[in-house]
Amino acid sequence: MFERILIANRGEIALRVIRTAREMGIECVAVYSDVDATAMHTRMAHSAVALSGSTPQETYLNMDKILDAALATGAQAIHPGYGFLSENAEFARRVMAAGLVWIGPPPGAITTMGDKIESRRAMAKAGVPCVPGLQDPVDDFQAALTAAETIGYPIAIKAAAGGGGKGIRIVRQASEMESAFRTASGEAKSSFGDGRVYLERYLDHPRHIEIQVLFDQHGHGVHLFERECSIQRRHQKLVEEAPSPVIDPATREAMGQVALQAAAHVNYEGAGTVEFLWSNGEFFFLEMNTRLQVEHPVTEMITGVDLVRQQILVAAGMPLEITQEDLVIRGHSIEVRINAEDPSAGYLPSTGVLHNLRMSGGPWVRLDTGMFRHMEVGLTYDPMLGKLIVWGPNRTAAIERMKRAIAEMNVGGVRTSMPAALMVLEHERFVAGDFDTHFLESLEIRPPEQYLRLIVAAAALYRHGLVERSAMDPLASERRGWRERGRREYSAYARRQLERGESQ
């Protein structure tokens, strides 16, 4: 087993990996950018190496610096987390070339699955059902228009090198194609450095259902059932659960087998996720994520399997000790992402300093986060601050538990996505299991009216307290007041514009 590994990531996932590695008796080397010098992952690792700089390019995406850090500290392996370099085949190759172990799948599998077009080609060859669409990138919007005639509207434009929903645009009629093509291609270029896009049929009332797989280096693989990830907005997931309320045992078994087939076809190793679109009982291969997923904890909660531990064991060459027969679904698990964004204002990103934290706890509540009081939330990195995860003996119990856990949580200093998740959990359609990937976008996130007078009273008394406290320096208070009001005017102004911009 490794004595020391480097975690090439930040935030909750770096901490997540550190936690398991510590439990395995493995020393952890953290890397950190300037703003992360006092982050939880930096503090909780055994060693920490500064990646001077603040942009992702200068730090967590900088292969040279990360490899240097690993070699300098004597790390024997690198865990990439998710995002950043986790699906970068070149990095995986360089890690291996440096004589280190890559805690992830073989670069070939990353390359094949990372390119949406190539992966669909490979999957079609492997007999895996795919969504109708083109397998080649389209050069311009004219070509896209022509192709769309064959595939049929609605059409999804996707980045060939993309992932996580970035660069995706939906086109419902030909007239929308030009503008959608331009922005999709532009975003793809700026996000992934590769502007190629491809087209596929957009399924109606689709559900996003994915299968977790785990393969060792000796050809043995298991699937760990499905995750239901249909509660998403702009293809960013918000609420995930396992198992899915619409998947029956036969479908589960069929999807599991297809996922194993897909992974085996690319000689997969480690933990990976095969994503499917499910629509009216049919399921189609969407893509494979060749890394740990954000939502992996719900699988852990229903199976009792620590996926990070399995990743490390597999990377160390150990044979899988788990057989498919060992794996049983116990109860139900739900995850809610805590993003720094304002769901009542078009999910506008929110920044600030966390100064009023109240954490959820108690029975069967898990909080994966790198949040701490005084933490500064900026825009440099992903807005996800953490994840609340609950387990319950059944779906109803898990929903009630998550509502309770959200009620206990407060992240003061920024707006978060939690009120949106709460509205989802309280919605009769969610409770009934009757939703698709458009459900979240259809919700208007507003706080319940019944408490308005109460909250107004609280705010008035809060203000009263502030005014009394600042009585010693009335000018400072006055100045701040004016500045705040001024800022609000323009915020509202720009927000309206932004909302209009988005509704296009």
């Binding site: 304002d342 003061g412 009120p419 007078r453 109460l454 307290g465 007041g481 609000r488 932004l498």
Partner: protein, 170 residues
């Protein structure tokens, strides 16, 4: 002095006074009896009202407050009579135009207008990339571009003036 509190598109008038050493609160003229107690100096508050207890988290300034109750979030804006008068006067002076500020930090991808250009309501002014998403910033009303303060590639902090518009309605 009256306090105007805006929340979720509604406005409430709050009057807070002391009668015989006891605090009296009126909301829209109706009495509201509450027991308010801070659990810490950081915004953890307990409020009791009509036999119920509410654990509230509250943060902000004298004018902008954010409160969370049982997972639901409330953004409130407050101003007293004097402040309201001042803000109405300031609004009137802008006449439908005014500076267009970045509501969040980001990178200017493209500026689509020039100084002196007339723009329609809904016309894109510029494209701002933030959180890796490209957002078109639109004019809300017919206006003339008085000045442009950024160019493509600029990194702008929240609150930075991007463009100043002169309203055509004034």
């Amino acid at each position: 002095m009256k306090l105007f509190v805006q929340v979720d598109g509604r406005e409430f008038e709050v009057e807070l006074s002391h009668v015989a050493g006891k605090r009296v609160m009126l909301i829209d003229g109706e009495p509201m009896e509450v027991d308010y107690r801070a659990a810490d100096a950081l915004g953890q508050v307990i409020l009791m009202h009509a036999g119920k207890s509410y654990g509230i988290s509250i943060e902000g300034t004298t004018h902008q407050v954010h409160a969370t109750l049982a997972g639901h979030a409330y953004a409130l804006h407050m101003e007293d009579e004097r402040e309201r008068a001042a803000s109405l006067a300031a609004k009137a002076a802008l006449g439908g135009g005014g500076p267009l500020e970045a509501v969040m930090p980001g990178i200017v991808v493209e500026v689509l207008v020039q100084e002196g250009q007339q723009v329609e309501a809904g016309q894109p002014i510029l494209i701002l990339e933030a959180m890796k998403m490209q957002n078109e910033i639109l004019a809300v009303a017919p206006a003339v571009v008085a000045s442009v303060h950024v160019k493509a590639g600029d990194t702008v902090p929240a609150g930075a003036v991007l463009v100043v518009l002169r309203g055509l309605e004034s």
